[in-house]
Amino acid sequence: MVKTPETLNSDLWVDRYGDMLYRYTLVRVKNPDAAEEIVQVTLLAALQSKGSFQGRSTEKSWLFGILKHKILDHFRELKNQRTYELTPDDDSDPLENAFHSDGHWVDAPKNWDTDPHKAVENKQLVDALALCMDRLSEKFRNIFVLKEIEGLASEEICKEMDIKPTNLWVILHRARNQLRKCLETHHWNVKK
């Protein structure tokens, strides 16, 4: 049986894919208004380039392809407004007072009673990470998203976002430690 080629039906885009595109964006972009805006920009861009759709992919994956570019554009905009380099205004190191002078932990990391394979099956835990990500500053959140969610190589992030490798490492290190603390408080709720 020959599969009929996909066609585009822009009247139905918002109802069919609007929420899906929005949720995908919200994982990556902290501000809900900005996320709505990105969905709108994506669909408008799709409408304008309707002619280039060749029916090789589905309508949905074509739209997602455009969305991914628009999200990266949004990240680049932040680069132009303010730098991704570290400044004194940035969140300080969550590990700053984490060690005694002899190098031992003050507040030792707890045993999170799971492992990476099992953790991903725990929906509450996935939600908790999303919640904790929203507590990161926009700068830290964007860099964390590029590295861990988009899976970009460190070199690529440095190039795209104009950032020195050492600063990238410091931002990721701090972001991970903030997330770690947040998850420990909100998910494991471990008593001190």
């Binding site: 822009s10 009247d11 885009w13 918002v14 109802d15 609007g18 929420d19 899906m20 929005y22 949720r23 995908y24 919200l26 994982v27 809900p32 709505e36 969905v39 709108q40 669909l43 408008l44 409408l47 304008q48 949905k60 590990l95 984490a98 060690f99 002899d102 190098g103 031992h104 932990w105 030792a108 990391p109 707890k110 045993n111 999170w112 799971t114 492992d115 990476p116 394979h117 953790a119 991903v120 929906k123 835990l125 996935v126 939600d127 990470l129 999303a130 964390f144 590295k147 861990e148 969610i149 988009e150 899976g151 460190s154 490492w169 990721l172 290190h173 991970r176 770690r180 998850l183 420990e184």
Partner: protein, 95 residues
């Protein structure tokens, strides 16, 4: 041999404070042989730093789970009515 062991231990011993940046670094790229050995040596003895390493690995695994087009998250957030109307209107106008 005992002398050699003491020498090795002195060479390889690092504190928890020195270990955490190495674990974070390991998440992003391969470590040099020296760093790798010191990390291994410390982790073999230190339960707490092993917990720390596992925590970072869990965070990484959870992030990957958020990657997909229909990731299970954001309590099923939906576009506001206002946004839907706005987007639909703008699409109509430029069609």
């Amino acid at each position: 041999m005992a002398k050699f062991n003491t020498w090795m231990t002195r060479k390889l011993r690092i504190t928890c404070e020195d270990t955490t940046p190495l674990i974070s670094e390991l998440m992003d790229h391969n470590l040099s042989l020296g760093k790798r050995l010191r990390l291994k040596f410390h982790l073999a003895m230190c339960t707490v730093c092993r917990f720390y390493k596992k925590q970072l690995e869990i965070i990484r695994a959870l992030s990957r789970k958020l990657r997909g087009e229909e990731a299970p998250t954001q309590q099923k957030a939906v576009l506001s009515e206002q946004a839907r109307t706005k987007i639909k209107d703008s699409l109509k106008q430029s069609n």
